[in-house]
């Protein structure tokens, strides 16, 4: 290599490093874009598709959601036909024996929420359902409804509710059986 191009090479290198450094240094003094999870957290968009919220008292066990599901991960069992009582808007008739969703299979595609005639299954705001065994990620919604829960309480929430304020807030909401999503968030698609 002749000396001229050798030195040109060095100069080019130093200039491009200097240009890069200039850009990086500019960002040294700017606000950070990351947040310190779990103490801080980012808000979910209203349409966020997380672990389902299910209102068992309005479900008529019609199997529409299970048929729409591409991976067949919704299991429904009932003792006799159910239907909506016009006055109370609650489902009456047979008992809803089982309503389970297998989250090891679920794609979070929201196809199950579209065909529901009573609009009782929604996509919630929980994103994490870690557990110690594979059986634990099958959520029995009919069972947890007996404890007045619309969505399961994951382990991390149980453990951190005293330490982190926003987790406590979420925990209280789920305990009270409130929905994170309202009909206004998810516009009608029918």
């Amino acid at each position: 290599m002749d000396p001229k191009s050798y030195f040109k090479n060095i100069v080019d290198n130093v200039t491009s490093i200097a240009i890069g450094m200039k850009i990086t240094i500019k960002y040294c003094f700017q606000k950070t874009v990351t947040v310190q999870y779990p103490e801080q957290y980012l808000k979910f968009a209203p349409r966020y598709r997380g672990i389902h919220e299910f209102e068992a008292n309005r479900c008529i066990a019609c199997d529409m959601c299970a048929k729409a599901c591409p991976v067949d991960c919704i299991y429904i069992d009932k003792s006799a036909p159910r239907k909506i009582d016009k006055k109370t808007e609650k489902a009456v008739g047979g008992e809803l024996l089982r309503f389970a969703i297998d989250y090891s299979k679920c794609l979070f595609c929201a196809l199950c929420t579209e065909p529901c005639p009573t609009d009782c299954i929604h996509m919630g705001k929980l994103h994490d359902l870690s557990s110690y065994s594979r059986e634990d990620v099958v959520v029995e919604f009919a069972e947890i409804d007996k404890q007045n829960l619309r969505t399961p309480i994951p382990l991390w929430m149980e453990r951190n509710k005293e330490k982190i304020p926003w987790v406590k807030g979420e925990y209280d909401r789920i305990k009270a059986g409130k929905l994170a999503t309202t009909a206004a968030d998810i516009p009608d698609v029918k």
């Binding site: 200039t15 491009s16 874009v33 968009a45 929201a110 516009p187």
Partner: protein, 384 residues
């Protein structure tokens, strides 16, 4: 092809001969972008032969399609090219619409184009960031992901998911634009446009980066056509092949944009740098398209009225689509009824990957990540 050491395979071009060695690059190597395994036959620092091995991510996507109704398969198309889920959704929806002769409302078409062009930017950002990473530059990667995060936030508002979007469905889109979405999008574009120049300063024209990528992995025009390459691969070699212009679909005829081609600015036409630079130029064109869409998006329905158990007439269809990585094609054969009889997917990454062996012949070992990175594969789509 033989994978063992070739007996007495001496290469006259290399002056120092040492013992040949087989090196496995991948499936866990960070620069193979997923689970690609490349078997390299090396002689010292020289790579004499490279053979890509696939199949570590095979999930029977085509077979699964035979059991699902057309609208249910959307969730699976997300997971083909998982960096460009919108584009895959759109391609599948287009194929089904062509087959079943469904008219899509104009508003839906505009929302679709907004979504797919945003996703094209997101996909190119990942490609740009990880390519820098392969070349030893860590900072651009963080910058690229910071901007991509804003796009994912927009997607979250649009459809509630960040990666596996399942937004564009047969007959239109699943939800209408949320309130104030177009304003937020404009805000993002204003923020993002100057960032591209910053990336160019930071990485594109960085001397070290240019030295690593220019004149490496040169693909001639003739090779491009022989290997049926598409996307930035073929445009990097100077052939302006872009289905959005050549065989326009959706509302692309109404939109103004340029097809970016490589010009051999830093070295030979069709080298790794050209392929990379085409993507940077394309991001600017995406912004141009998005700005036009924001102005033009009409009011109206966002989804065609379709029966839930949609029956599709017998027939066959092949829909082509310009994915961020090239031509994505869905071939569907229907024998009537609610499920397809056979689905074939033409994945752009899969076809582009075929040229690896030819490009990685008699190159330095350090050039192999540069070449594989510039081909820009997504293994989810290669293996399907």
């Amino acid at each position: 092809m033989q994978y063992g050491l070739a007996p007495g395979a001496l290469d006259e071009n290399i002056d120092v001969q040492s013992e040949e060695m087989l090196v496995n690059m991948g499936p866990q190597h960070p620069s193979t972008h997923g689970v690609l395994r490349v078997v390299l036959r090396t002689d010292g620092e020289m790579v004499l032969e490279a053979v890509p091995h696939l199949g570590y991510l095979h999930r029977c996507k085509e077979k699964i399609a035979e059991n699902l109704a057309y609208y249910q398969y959307i969730g699976y198309t997300d997971r083909l090219d998982y960096l460009a889920a919108m584009n895959n959704n759109h391609a599948w929806a287009m194929a089904v619409e062509k087959l079943a002769d469904i008219e899509v409302p104009l508003r839906a078409e505009y929302i679709r184009i907004i979504a797919v062009e945003l996703n094209r930017i997101a996909s190119h950002l990942v490609s740009f960031g990880t390519y820098g990473l392969d070349m030893g530059a860590f900072t651009p990667f963080l910058y690229a992901f910071r901007e991509r995060e804003y796009i994912l936030d927009l997607f979250e508002q649009l459809c509630g998911a960040r990666l596996t979007l399942s937004y564009i469905n047969v007959g239109g889109v699943t939800w209408d634009l949320p309130p104030l979405f177009l304003e937020k999008l404009t805000e993002f574009l204003d923020y993002f446009e100057p960032k591209i120049d910053e990336y160019n300063d930071l990485l594109t024209f960085n001397h070290i980066f240019v030295k690593r990528t220019a004149n490496v992995g040169v693909t001639s025009k003739e090779q491009c056509i022989r290997y049926a390459l598409s996307g930035p691969m073929i445009r990097g070699s100077g052939i302006p092949l872009d289905l959005r212009k050549d065989r326009p679909y959706s509302i692309y005829p109404n939109l103004e944009f340029d097809v970016c081609v490589g010009e051999g600015l830093k070295g030979t036409l069709g080298d790794c740098w050209d392929r990379y630079y085409v993507k940077m130029l394309e991001m600017k064109q995406c912004i141009r398209i998005l700005r036009q869409c924001i102005k033009q998006v009409p009011a109206g329905p966002f989804r065609a009225k379709l029966p839930r158990n949609m029956k599709v007439p017998p027939g066959e269809v092949y829909a082509e689509y310009e994915n961020p990585r090239g031509h994505l094609g869905f071939y569907i054969e229907s024998q009537g009824g609610a499920v397809p009889y056979r689905v074939k997917i033409r994945g752009p990454s899969f076809v582009n990957l075929a040229i690896t062996s030819e490009l990685c012949r008699n190159v330095l070992l350090a050039d192999v990540p540069a070449i594989i990175g510039s081909i820009d594969i997504v293994m989810g789509e290669v293996d399907r």
